[in-house]
């Protein structure tokens, strides 16, 4: 059951059944970051193997990427979900306090959130680095860029215009 207001109106679903833009934006941001991050880390791992003299065909690149979407992305989804559950509300608070640079704050907040999450994970797990692509600066930068893209998507999907449209529709 979705949570309800005292008046009995759903905060998740409007009376017309539409999902609240914040929920929709959050899930879209998590999914975009998960999928983009998964594909990015595959390319970094494959580039490293190719850099060792292995000849990889396009089929190899596609096969690995698809495999990773199946096997790596569920793990990464959980990491991103947990990260964004903290990072997006924190960014929202920063937006309220600062009052400007809304998109930038969401982008920076999600990227910073992922960076902190990866540091914490690497500190807690037995291996020095859980996600191999984040061993290098470019790899880390691209993974954080994917998180920033998630933050941008959330900001776009929860803009004042979108929220106003949603309110009018409900």
């Amino acid at each position: 059951m979705p949570p309800t207001t005292p008046a009995g109106r759903s905060v998740v679903f409007s009376q017309q059944g539409g999902v609240h833009p914040a929920i929709l934006g959050f899930m879209a941001a998590v999914i975009l970051t998960t999928l983009a991050g998964t594909v990015i880390q595959s390319q970094f791992n494959l580039a490293a193997i190719q850099g060792l003299g292995a000849e990889l065909s396009i089929a190899d690149w596609l096969w690995v990427t698809v495999q990773d979407l199946g096997a790596f992305s569920p793990v990464y989804f959980i990491i991103i979900l947990a990260t964004f559950l903290l990072a997006i509300p924190a960014a929202a608070l920063a937006v309220r306090l600062i009052g400007s640079a809304r998109q930038g704050l969401y982008m920076g907040g999600t990227a910073l959130g992922l960076f902190v999450a990866l540091q914490v994970i690497d500190h807690l797990v037995p291996m020095p680095t859980l996600i191999a692509a984040t061993r290098s600066l470019p790899g880390m930068a691209f993974m954080l860029a994917a998180a920033a893209a998630g933050g941008w998507l959330f900001a776009a999907m929860t803009s004042a215009t979108r929220l106003s449209q949603h309110r009018n529709a409900s």
């Binding site: 595959s42 292995a54 990889l56 190899d60 790596f72 797990v125 037995p126 020095p128």
Partner: protein
């Protein structure tokens, strides 16, 4: 379920039960010593005693009467890096120990931010080591406290092999002959590269290298009868293996592997490549192999010539049956202990010795039940 099912099941159980009981009673396991802090390696002294390394940086002595001496031996290296997988590793006696009382220790040295796999030698006295000298330090320094390798095995010419891990974060460097990461090195007893090492003529290669393309070899055995060298190593998630180690060969990591990363991510799409060696045994899913012995004792004649590898995650000893260097079968042993096995050794008495990996680790002795 019909009547035939139960009748057949009862028949199968009644046939299997005596066999199971026979296997269960084939061996007896005795505790030689306990209360060891993550024991890592075991060496047998000519007087009937033993030396045991603890990963936390101590070298312990067990008397010929089987008593663990309370005080650790003194004189160990003062820069042993103890953290996570880092610490004191192997202890191996010099082939001429009877005359020179010398032994060799492998260990992680340095700091968390800059550390190496190191090799030192010293002379064993009553209370500890003297004349301790670091004779080899794997290059370059690496950060993090994972994947050191650290197993030592002597060859008949009195040179030694030492396994060196890839440091986890440096896996691509296992293909780089310009460093020691992810390799087996061959050294003389002074720590120098012998003149007939396989990469000596390669100007881009480190002269100490014997084989490359390894992840984290934790077991190393020289078979005196066949002249073969066997090594086991940890894969990532899957891809644990036993390799037949030969001079100058490339064992493929991370270009070829049967494992995937712990996150499920693919490391490489390749499992084979020309110029890279296939394993003798692949363990997927992983068992996390540890110390290994080639059994050549008298107490278990049917085990002679077989490899016995400890398994940490799988909590067992994996017997690998060999015939002319080919694997003919495998058998899981001592699972009933439910303990992480760090090392397996063949004792001079023909018993199989096990080290269990915990903060209260043990030295166990396996003998025939009727011994």
């Amino acid at each position: 379920m019909n009547r035939h099912f139960w009748r057949h099941s009862a028949l199968i159980v009644s046939l299997c039960l005596p066999l199971t009981l026979l296997q269960a009673h084939e061996t007896r396991i005795e505790t030689v010593a306990e209360g060891l802090d993550h024991p890592w390696s075991l060496a047998f002294l000519p007087d009937g005693g033993m030396l045991v390394t603890e990963r936390s940086g101590q070298l312990r002595r067990i008397s010929p009467e089987g008593e663990l001496q309370k005080a650790p031996l003194s004189g160990l290296p003062d820069d042993i890096h103890v953290d996570s997988q880092a610490g004191l590793k192997d202890v191996v006696l010099d082939p001429e120990f009877a005359s020179n009382q010398r032994l060799f220790l492998s260990y992680a040295c340095g700091t968390r931010r800059a550390n190496h796999t190191c090799l030192a030698r010293g002379v064993l006295g009553d209370g500890g080591l003297t004349e301790l000298e670091e004779i080899f330090r794997a290059q370059p320094a690496k950060a993090g406290s994972a994947h050191y390798g650290g197993r030592i095995a002597f060859l008949p010419d009195h040179t030694l092999l030492l396994t060196i891990g890839d440091g986890f974060n440096y896996r691509e460097e296992a293909q780089n002959k310009g460093n020691h990461i992810g390799s087996t090195v061959r050294l003389d007893r002074d720590g120098n590269a012998p003149a007939d090492n396989p990469f000596r003529d390669d100007r881009d290669a480190r002269p100490e290298l014997y084989s490359i393309g390894h992840r984290n070899a934790q077991g190393l055995v020289y078979d005196a009868q066949s002249g073969r060298v066997y090594s086991n190593e940890h894969g990532p998630k899957g891809g644990d293996k036993i390799n037949l180690i030969e001079a100058g060969k490339n064992y493929g990591w991370p270009v070829i592997t049967y494992g995937v990363d712990y996150t499920g991510a693919q490391i490489s799409p390749l499992t084979e490549k020309p110029g890279m060696e296939q394993p003798l045994v692949d363990w997927t899913p992983s068992i996390a192999p540890s110390g290994m012995t080639l059994y050549d004792g008298d107490l278990f004649p049917h085990w002679q010539g077989d490899l016995f590898s400890g398994a940490l995650a799988a909590r067992k000893v994996q017997r690998v049956m060999l015939e002319d260097g080919q694997v003919t079968g495998e058998e899981a042993l001592f699972q009933e202990l439910g303990k992480r096995i760090r090392d397996v050794r063949t004792g001079p008495d023909g018993a199989l010795y096990l080290l269990t990996d915990s903060r209260r680790g043990e030295v166990l002795r396996v003998v025939p039940a009727d011994y």
